[in-house]
């Protein structure tokens, strides 16, 4: 489609002394899934709150469907849905009552609110629990209801703020399936997560943020490619041995990263590079006690960005 569904330009927001957002910009093409990835306190929730009209930025501009989230907030609210750990449902209502209430408040009309509530309860596998109070729901059921509540008025853009934080793997995969289904049906999704695996599994495009700024952006594949084809993990018996190995590898032109008695080296050349690594260590450091080769994960991207190291 090529259209931009969500755009943020140079958003800044401070809470007292804390600069939560420090010039954050991003764009989400219509119909795609963007993963906003970052550790706690990096500004993910602040970003979503601003885009979902719940919070005003100090400066900068953001639009959803071309509508300004500050000056045209009322229109923006008609096209967005928000779910996540902070946009909750009412524990003292049943699942069905929650959906009907939110449907009516989403202005879909009383009759349509009933119909949509039933549809969504069915779609999210909550039929059996529909007339039970939400305070008795499991964590996974509550999250599914939460996502369902965000979909009553068929929003074109869905914000999911850490939708699976704290969920068990089964509930997590079920939620992933729902998100994939929504994306297939053309909904634009902006999802925040601390789980690199989640961004990898769901997102077309990943934006990594750190301290309120964009640290890197790309498709999951691009981000991994930037790190080379493989990652070698060399384990040593003692920390001193690892330190010796670190300097030996660095002087041989590699970019080793130390983590205690373990060293990681990324390589674009593939697993064949192992012989080169071992040759570089010969005579300068003790032999490693363990050697592992694996594909890079988004964790590697993340660690290399947040630790100030450069992606090779």
């Amino acid at each position: 489609m090529g259209d931009i569904a969500v755009e943020a330009r140079s958003l800044r927001k401070a809470f007292g002394e804390v600069q939560a957002l420090d010039g954050l910009s991003l764009a989400v093409p219509a119909g795609s899934v963007l993963g906003l990835l970052g550790p706690n306190g990096s500004g993910k929730t602040t970003t979503v709150s601003i885009l979902a009209t719940s919070l005003r930025p100090d400066s900068g501009r953001a639009t959803v469907g071309g509508l300004d989230v500050v000056t045209e907030a009322a229109q923006v609210r008609r096209v967005i849905g928000l779910a996540g750990q902070f946009a909750a449902v009412d524990p003292n209502l049943t699942g069905r009552e929650n959906l009907r209430l939110i449907g009516r408040l989403s202005r879909v009309g009383r009759g349509q609110a009933r119909v949509r509530a039933d549809e969504l309860l069915d779609r999210f596998g909550l039929n059996a629990a529909a007339d039970r109070l939400v305070r008795g729901y499991s964590g996974g059921m509550r999250r599914r209801l939460d996502v369902a509540a965000a979909l009553l008025h068929r929003p074109a853009v869905l914000f999911l703020d850490e939708p699976t934080t704290g969920l068990d793997p089964e509930s997590r995969f079920a939620l992933w399936d729902s998100v994939r289904g929504l994306a297939r049906s053309g909904t634009t999704v902006l999802l925040t997560t601390q789980y690199l695996e989640e961004a990898d599994a769901l997102a077309d495009q990943v934006v990594i943020i750190s301290a309120g700024r964009v640290a890197d952006t790309g498709t999951p594949a691009e981000l991994k490619a930037r790190l080379g084809a493989v990652v070698f993990q060399l384990g040593f018996a003692r920390r001193e041995a690892a330190e010796a190995a670190h300097s030996a590898l660095a002087s041989a032109g590699y970019r080793p990263q130390s983590d205690g008695a373990c060293i990681q080296v990324r390589s674009a050349a593939g697993s064949g590079e192992l012989t080169g690594l071992l040759r570089a260590l010969e005579g300068r450091a003790p032999d490693p006690v363990s050697v592992a080769v694996r594909e890079p994960t988004l964790d590697d991207v993340f660690l290399s960005l947040t630790s100030g190291g450069e992606a090779a």
């Binding site: 609210r77 928000l82 750990q85 946009a87 009412d90 209502l93 009516r104 934080t165 704290g166």
Partner: protein, 294 residues
């Protein structure tokens, strides 16, 4: 827009739009109020305490203190009931702060803020539900008071008029505590902040003892505040006296408070900045963990 001449048709159209938006704001308020009432019915402990406490006060003051307090010219129970009504709705208004801060804590307020609903409905729905609860509590208390000997020489009409003033004051004060509730995401903290204000207003007023028994400096404050005005107006209606003047003063207080507090609360809601996410985060994560480990 303002510099462009507006055609009559546009004016008519904007009037239609305005009346439609008022209608939908009322609808939204009703929906939110319904939700709040349902929530209260489903946490009956809160409702029971809200009712039992004033009833205990009626019985306690009537039978335990009543013998020791002599108010010239009237039965103590007739003197007492207007004071207890005022105290009850004043404490009831604390519920508005507690309820809103609870919604802030669970996160449902964040969802409301992102829905295309009328923004005033979150506050309107809360205060209307609290008004309904006040009506129930006041009705129960009136029954208990009646059983304990409370009578008005001027008949049921004057009691009803007094109760009208009481709930009007309670409603206005609810809006005052709404702003407080929106600023604190911890219901206990909201309660702790609101209760001293109520104590100050109730116990410096003539609610339980005649103002003439207080030292001059306290009288100066105590006789120039809304609870005192309310209690005087109630007594004038129920016991007889120059009712019109006192009733007008009480209505002026309630009307003025309502106007100021509605604006204040609406402004607080519109400008809400950092919603206390961190607290929600930890709590819900803990809850989820509990549920998962089962």
């Amino acid at each position: 827009m303002s510099t462009i001449a507006i055609a009559p048709r546009q004016v008519a159209a904007s009037r239609v739009a305005a009346s439609r938006s008022v209608a939908s704001a009322l609808c939204d308020t009703a929906d939110v109020a319904w939700r709040n009432l349902l929530t209260q019915l489903r946490t009956p402990q809160a409702l029971v305490f809200a009712t039992v406490q004033p009833v205990i006060f009626v019985l306690l003051f009537r039978y335990a203190f009543g013998g020791a307090i002599h108010v010239p010219g009237t039965n103590y129970v007739d003197f007492l009931m207007p004071g207890i009504f005022a105290q009850t709705v004043a404490f009831g208004a604390v519920g508005t702060a507690v309820g809103l801060s609870g919604d802030l804590r669970t996160g449902i307020l964040v969802r409301f803020r992102t829905l295309p609903m009328a923004r005033i409905a979150v506050l309107g729905g809360r205060t209307v539900a609290d008004l309904a609860r006040n009506l129930l509590v006041v009705a129960v208390m009136t029954g208990v008071g009646f059983a304990a000997g409370f009578r008005s020489p001027h008949g049921a009409g004057s009691v009803l008029a007094a109760l009208g003033l009481v709930v009007a004051f309670g409603y206005a004060l609810s809006w005052g505590f709404a702003s407080l509730g929106l600023r604190v995401s911890d219901p206990e903290a909201a309660q702790a902040a609101a209760v001293p204000v109520v104590f100050l207003l109730v116990f410096t007023s003539a609610a339980f003892v005649p103002a003439s028994a207080m030292p001059g400096w306290l009288q100066a404050f105590g006789t120039h505040q809304p609870v005192d005005a309310l209690v005087n107006a109630e007594r004038a209606l129920i016991l007889g006296g120059q009712a019109a003047h006192d009733v007008l003063i009480s209505l002026a207080w309630s009307g003025g408070m309502l106007a100021v507090f509605v604006l204040l609360a609406a402004r607080t809601y519109a400008r809400m900045g950092r919603l206390r996410f961190a607290g929600v985060n930890r709590r819900s994560a803990g809850r989820v963990r509990e549920l998962v480990q089962g």
